[in-house]
């Protein structure tokens, strides 16, 4: 097929923030996750674990606890002292209420989802009513010394267990009184006495309070008598988190050594009713603190400060072994953080609070497969743009010519004009940008760099005209005819400037004619989240990647799926393709070779050649290395449509610069690890 000159970029020094807390919602099969930088993400397990919502963080808004309550409303609380409700349609904080108790360390919702309890720095536990327009303060429970680090409601909603330093309390919700106080370090020898932090509690329906503490213990208490029922030393380091399954027969705990353990309630003797908690399965998926764990009916979920989200299905809960039972690990966001100015050979990297603009290097030599060419001009860091204010960046883009840079935060939209004179770059902020409804969820420049598309809420897309030498004008706002509350999160424009495709949070894809600023048609709804979109520059076919790894090609002029797309659906994609576990995040095309589609996910880069037959399940999907060993003549028969390269991992971005020049942005996990604080030293035998 051909040789590419690949610019292998590893200078995108992106470090994902650690996972702070998790909340699993059983009914919708979704997981809410908060990171240490205050970002909140929602993973849809039903849509192949796609990260379908992401609310960027905020400097002043750390999230210490997340709760699903009142159906599928998501609440968060943090050290800022506020209880906030998230707007999952417009991806921002809907409203916040001050807890008036100083920093909030913990929050728990009752079984019915009608009330929230928060644990504050000042030692108070406060109750809030969940009302249609947010939360309303209800009452204070007994206040005591010491911050309340963790809370758990009894399923009957009559009592709350609260953990703080050295102490565990049970509070009566009706009277607000402390009805039990348990000193957790009572058994420790005087000489060794140090502070024992109760990091997490759970209140079981049997009246047992489960606590995990900084001494590495998981303890079971009878709350009425205040006696210790069982104590398990899990680890020499702290046990930071615990979660109980809905049936209360299994507990998952996370430790600061990066290990997670499962405890199960099992009969000790055969046939006897006497059941004990037994440590059954240890897992070591993380290198750093496991700050949050959750327990879905079929899986153990853990999130660590190493930024990894790990979903470990429980084999005994799975109907069949295979793909469903595979371990999932997510480190990188399911959307792109890099944009590329193809013509100018620039890359724009998006960090949480700044942007970096780099110019790629070049070479004047060529070589054979696998060779590293000498770089005659090194890559250059042109500009660093710092976002002002505490808000994190939602999205950013650079125009194909490289002269326009735009980004948006929750409340502000910035447009810059860059001018290149020789080696120097000057950046000028465009004043008087039109006042738009913010935030923008996605930004996209047209191929001629003449207009900028701004994805906004309620399914709308704003079209801005970019004016030389440095101005901009609002041309039109495109809206779906039926209306939708969900925001647009993916955009794709055609090379000829005629068409725009927009995918919104309800997984609908609308097509607009830019000539007439009119809605053209809607792509038939598919039951899975859209992960990437692109319009072919020659044929004007829209290529869509879904989170279940399906690929569709939709002809915009004909308003229907193309014949090739139907063939793919009829014959089905290769099993190995469907079982990949990271979504396609970017699609590109080769204008010189219209049958090629370039796709990538975190672990592979693929050129899909539509002119070749699709592989069937008996053929090997990754056949490149096998093909390389075959003589030219024998290759013909073995060729199939998917040309997959796994050399570049983990891949955050890949694009075609010109006909035979690619850019690949990698972020090696080792490089991220070096940015993290050192993990707890564990003595390995013999070292």
């Amino acid at each position: 097929m051909g040789e590419f000159e690949v610019h292998r970029v590893r200078f995108f020094s992106y470090v994902p923030a650690g996972v702070r807390c998790l909340a699993y919602h059983r009914r919708t099969d979704r997981l809410a996750l908060a990171r240490t930088d205050g970002a909140v993400e929602v993973y849809n397990f039903a849509a192949n674990y796609f990260q379908e919502k992401a609310i960027p963080g905020h400097e002043a808004r750390t999230v210490e606890a997340l709760c699903w309550a009142a159906g599928d409303r998501l609440f968060g609380a943090g050290l800022g002292g506020d209880v906030s409700e998230y707007d999952l349609e417009r991806l921002r904080v809907k409203r916040s209420v001050d807890g008036f108790g100083g920093p909030i360390w913990s929050m728990a919702a009752n079984a019915g989802g009608t009330r929230l309890a928060i644990g504050c720095e000042d030692g108070s536990v406060k109750l809030f009513h969940v009302v249609p327009d947010g939360v309303q303060f209800e009452r204070n429970l007994d206040r005591q010394q010491g911050r309340v680090l963790c809370l758990s409601w009894h399923p009957s909603e009559t009592h709350i267990a609260a953990g703080s330093v050295d102490l565990l309390r049970v509070l009566d919700v009706g009277s607000g009184r402390t009805v039990q106080r348990i000193m957790v370090n009572y058994h420790v020898q005087k000489s060794k006495k140090r502070e024992c932090v109760v990091w997490s509690v759970a209140f079981l329906s049997s009246g047992t309070v489960v606590s995990s503490d900084s001494f590495g213990r998981l303890q079971f208490w009878d709350w009425e008598r205040g006696t210790l029922l069982e104590s398990h030393t899990v680890s020499t380091s702290a046990v930071l988190s615990l979660a109980v399954s809905e049936k209360e027969d299994s507990i998952v705990v996370g430790t600061s050594a990066g290990a997670t353990y499962q405890f199960q309630l099992l009969p000790v003797k055969m046939g006897s009713q006497d059941k004990h908690w037994v440590r059954t399965k240890p897992f070591q998926h993380h290198t750093h603190d496991v700050r949050a764990v959750a327990h879905s009916p079929t899986a153990l979920i853990s999130g660590g400060l190493d930024a990894q989200l790990v979903i470990r299905p429980l084999m005994e809960k799975m109907q069949k072994k295979g793909y469903e039972a595979a371990l999932r690990k997510f480190t990188f966001p399911h959307r792109r953080l890099v944009s590329c100015a193809r013509k100018a050979r620039l890359l724009l990297f998006q960090f949480s609070q700044h942007l970096e603009l780099w110019k790629l290097g070049s070479t004047d030599e060529s070589g054979k497969d696998g060779e590293v060419l000498p770089v005659c001009r090194a890559p250059e860091h042109l500009v660093q743009l710092k976002s002002k204010g505490p808000e994190h960046i939602y999205c950013s883009c650079v125009s194909p010519c490289g002269s326009w840079i735009a980004y948006s935060t929750a409340s502000r939209f910035h447009l810059y004009r860059a001018q290149y004179e020789g080696d120097s770059v000057s950046i000028k902020k465009v004043a008087n940008v039109p006042k738009l409804l913010l935030p923008a969820y996605q930004l996209q420049c047209s191929a001629d760099s003449g207009s900028l598309f701004v994805a906004s809420d309620q399914g709308s897309v704003h079209v801005l005209q970019l004016l030389e030498p440095g101005g901009c004008k609002h041309l039109h706002t495109l809206r779906p005819p039926s209306g939708t509350p969900e925001a647009v999160y993916l955009l794709a424009s055609s090379a000829d400037g005629n068409w725009l495709a927009a995918a919104s949070g309800d997984w609908e894809i609308h097509l607009y004619s830019l000539k007439r600023f009119k809605h053209h048609c809607t792509v038939p709804t598919y039951s899975c989240a859209v992960t990437a979109l692109a319009i072919h520059p020659v044929t004007n076919n829209l290529v869509i990647a879904y989170s279940d790894q399906q690929l569709f090609e939709f002809s915009i002029p004909e308003k229907q799926y193309t014949a090739w797309s139907r063939t793919v659906q009829n014959s089905g994609l290769h099993k190995a393709w469907l079982e990949r576990d990271s979504p396609i995040t970017h699609i590109a095309f080769n204008p010189k070779n219209p049958s090629h589609i370039l796709l990538h996910d975190v672990y592979m880069f693929c050129v899909l050649d539509k002119s070749l037959p699709l592989p069937d399940d008996s053929a090997s999907l990754m056949n490149q290395s096998a093909l390389k060993q075959l003589p030219e003549t024998a290759r013909k028969r073995q060729l199939h449509a998917f040309k997959i390269c796994k050399k570049f991992q983990p891949l955050l971005f890949a694009d075609l610069l010109d006909e035979n020049c690619l850019v690949m942005v990698e972020r090696p996990i080792m490089d991220i690890k070096t940015q993290l604080p050192p993990p707890i030293q564990q003595k390995k035998f013999g070292t």
């Binding site: 097929m1 000159e5 292998r8 072994k321 696998g370 390389k628 040309k643 090696p668």
Partner: protein, 723 residues
């Protein structure tokens, strides 16, 4: 995974060329050589082929008007060929004979069904009336009268085996939809008749069988696309007229939801069967295919479509399939490897197999309850399904009703019956098709047997205990007293098997075994039956002393390197006896000690017991460990050859443990001094050698680091070729 290779044509079968004149193949039999097959067609001709060369070596025909009625077989002992034409005329000839008219001829008094030739045995002639003669008996008086056992039943299939030295013939007959199985044993001249349990709406199409551990396993391919397994014990004491054989489903031939209609099949190994049949998917024409199935995981392993159609016959000799495909006889070589779970799962997309494996029901374990529950369970099961019969208790325990044997009853019987009677029942138990809670049951049976052993000193069913333990899945905790009794009886063979099989032996018992093994004299052990598998490869059993083999020591310590200390090499040269050179114990004892080394233990629990070991025994054991250590260090891989031989880590751990336990004794004991010093020298030599290796490792790592550095640049331009 099993795999089918590309096939090749052995010969054409069409009327124009090749053999058979289009009438088809009567049968294919193995020829005198492993690479030879004898093909008999439904006409007048028999041909001998060399398979790898795909060419005929010889061809014999009977006269016009005569027909070969029984497949030609080869007498492996004499390299003669035997055929029957026109049902009654027997011909025997050799390779050099050309004209069949002129070879030895014998006319028999009855019609022959088949001749079975066995390696190392006299060929067996099976008559259509069910009578069987060996060939030499028959040739003594060809006109002797042959009895008719089966009146109007028709023989469908027959097969012969050798069990030990005894030939056994099994054949299946059919009459009015009922199928009968006959087992003929020659030594005792016994013919057993069984009736095959009926299957509604389906009848057996093909049979195949194998023999193992005194039990014939018969597999039947039914017309409903299922393979059933029937177990027939060879030992049968009751002379009852007719026993019904129950069958258990082994495999359902389901391919993507549609049933494979098998026509014939063959057993490949303990987990794999090959089935030739036709597959009809919805709305499609049926297509014939050859398939290999894994019975353990119930999965289709591989299949090959045969678009030109087959005759429905399949033969399998020496890892090759033979079948007619269109107008030719095709040979396909197959490979069948032991399948792992990983290999088997997910091969067949929507097979109906369940992933639920059977587990022991621990709740059913408590002793007395089990008796009750099993009794009630089984009686209910048996009432509803009276075919599950195993009636044979009549001759031994007359008072009990002649119905069936339940486990509960067996447990009661063990308490008071005679040992012969118990053995009978146990045999039946073992030949039963898969029981639920098999392990639990066996555990209870063993416990009952052991209890009996304790009360009755004469009673000790050693062979049965061995057989029971060898069934997988038992553990120490299932039968805790077994080893104690074996220790008391000094049954070292049983102890050896227990140590090898049980995963959970307490350290106390392990120690007790060790002590017993060390204390028994080698002379006594020579007379006992011990499995020597683990030592046979490295101990020279014939002459275990005074003969020095000058082997090259590969593990790096040569004379230059170790001038100062290594007197192991020195002794080699001077032929002086050294501790590390000869096995200090006999091979039997070594095998037993290996079993101890192999068992799992925890240091903390073993150490206190080990301290009780008498000093002399400790020294002997240490000497043996030293020997093993030196022996295993001879190879670069530091492993000992052979099955279940101890690993270097096990040897080292035990050595350290033993030294820990007897440190002061060893230091004080004069006879241990030489041993300790040679051990010390050997270890020092090894340490020095490894430190040299470490140095090399350092330089190699540096090389690797250089390579990695190149890789960790933040920017590079590379060339990527996609094909």
């Amino acid at each position: 995974m099993a795999a089918l290779c590309e096939g090749f044509t052995l010969c054409g079968l069409g009327p124009s060329g090749g053999v058979g004149l289009g009438a088809g193949v009567l049968a294919l039999e193995p020829g005198p050589d492993s690479d030879h097959v004898l093909l008999t067609d439904r006409g007048r001709t028999a041909t001998l082929f060399k398979v790898s060369d795909q060419k005929p070596l010889g061809c014999w025909s009977v006269k016009h008007g005569q027909i070969i009625t029984c497949p030609v077989v080869c007498n492996f002992e004499t390299h003669e060929y035997i055929a029957v034409h026109d049902d009654k005329v027997l011909r025997i000839w050799k390779d050099e004979d050309v004209n069949l008219d002129k070879v030895f001829k014998a006319t028999l008094s009855a019609d022959v069904y088949r001749i079975h030739s066995l390696p190392h045995g006299e060929p067996l002639v099976l008559f259509k009336g069910g009578g069987v003669r060996t060939l030499d008996v028959l040739l003594e008086a060809p006109q002797q009268e042959i009895e008719n056992f089966i009146s109007d039943e028709v023989i469908k299939w027959s097969e012969a085996f050798l069990e030990g030295q005894e030939p056994i013939l099994i054949f299946a007959t059919e009459k009015d939809g009922d199928y009968f199985i006959y087992v003929q044993k020659f030594k005792l001249n016994i013919l057993h008749k069984y009736k095959l349990e009926q299957q509604e709406l389906s009848n057996p199409l093909s049979f195949t069988a194998y023999i193992k551990n005194q039990i014939i396993t018969l597999l039947c391919l039914y017309s409903n696309g299922s393979v059933y397994k029937v177990l027939i014990p060879l030992q049968r004491h009751s002379e009852e007229e007719e026993q019904i054989l129950s069958k258990s489903l082994l495999l359902k031939l389901l391919v993507s939801g549609s049933v494979l209609k098998g026509t014939s099949f063959a057993i490949l190994d303990k987990d794999h069967v090959a089935v030739l049949g036709s597959l009809t998917a919805f709305g499609e024409e049926s297509k014939e295919c050859l398939t290999i199935w894994n019975t353990k995981f119930q999965t289709l392993q591989t299949s090959k479509e045969l678009p030109l159609g087959t005759s429905g016959q399949l033969w399998c000799y020496g890892e090759k399939f033979f079948f007619t495909h269109g107008k030719v006889l095709t040979v396909i070589i197959y490979k069948c490897e032991t399948s792992s779970l990983a290999a088997a799962v997910g091969k067949l997309k929507d097979s109906q197999t369940s992933d639920v494996s059977s587990f022991i029901n621990w709740n059913a374990l408590s002793d007395e309850e089990l008796v009750d529950s099993l009794q009630s369970q089984q009686s209910v099961a048996l009432k509803s399904e009276s075919k599950m019969t195993l009636r044979s208790r009549r001759n031994s325990v007359a008072k009990v009703q002649p119905d069936t044997l339940t486990v509960g009853q067996l447990l009661l019987d063990i308490k008071d019956s005679s040992s012969a009677a118990i053995e009978d029942e146990l045999k039946q138990l073992l030949s039963k098709p898969q029981m639920p809670d098999f392990q639990a049951t066996i555990g209870c049976v063993i416990t009952a047997l052991i209890n009996r052993c304790k009360t009755d000193p004469v009673f000790y069913p050693r062979n049965f205990l061995v057989q029971l333990i060898q069934k997988r899945g038992l553990s120490y905790s299932l039968c805790p007293d077994l080893m104690a009794v074996a220790l008391e009886k000094k049954d070292v063979h049983l102890l050896q098997i227990c140590l090898q099989r049980f995963p959970d032996i307490p350290e106390e018992i392990t120690y007790a075994c060790l002590k017993v093994f060390l204390s028994i004299s080698d002379d006594y052990l020579e007379r006992t039956d011990v499995n020597l598998e683990s030592v046979i490869c490295y101990i020279d059993i014939e002459s275990n002393n005074k003969e020095v083999k000058t082997e090259i020591v590969e593990n790096g310590f040569n004379a230059e390197l170790e001038e100062d200390s290594c007197d192991i090499i020195f002794t080699k040269e001077t032929h002086v006896k050294n501790d590390g050179e000869f096995c200090p114990v006999g091979p039997q004892k070594a095998a037993l000690l290996n079993a101890v080394l192999h068992s799992a233990y925890s240091e903390t629990f073993l150490l206190p017991h080990l301290k009780d070991l008498p000093a002399q025994q400790a020294v002997l054991f240490l000497r043996y460990l030293h020997y093993l250590y030196v022996k295993s260090s001879e190879k670069i891989t530091t492993t000992l050859p052979g099955v279940l031989s101890p690993t270097i880590n096990q040897i080292m751990d035990w050595m350290c443990l033993l030294l820990d336990a007897h440190f002061t004794v060893m230091v004080m004991l004069p006879e241990a001094k030489g041993l300790l010093s040679s051990l010390h020298k050997f270890v020092r030599a090894q340490v020095r050698f490894y430190s040299e290796l470490n140095k090399i490792e350092g330089s190699l790592q540096e090389l690797q680091r250089l390579k990695r550095q190149k890789d960790s640049q933040t920017y590079s331009i590379e060339v990527l070729e996609l094909i």
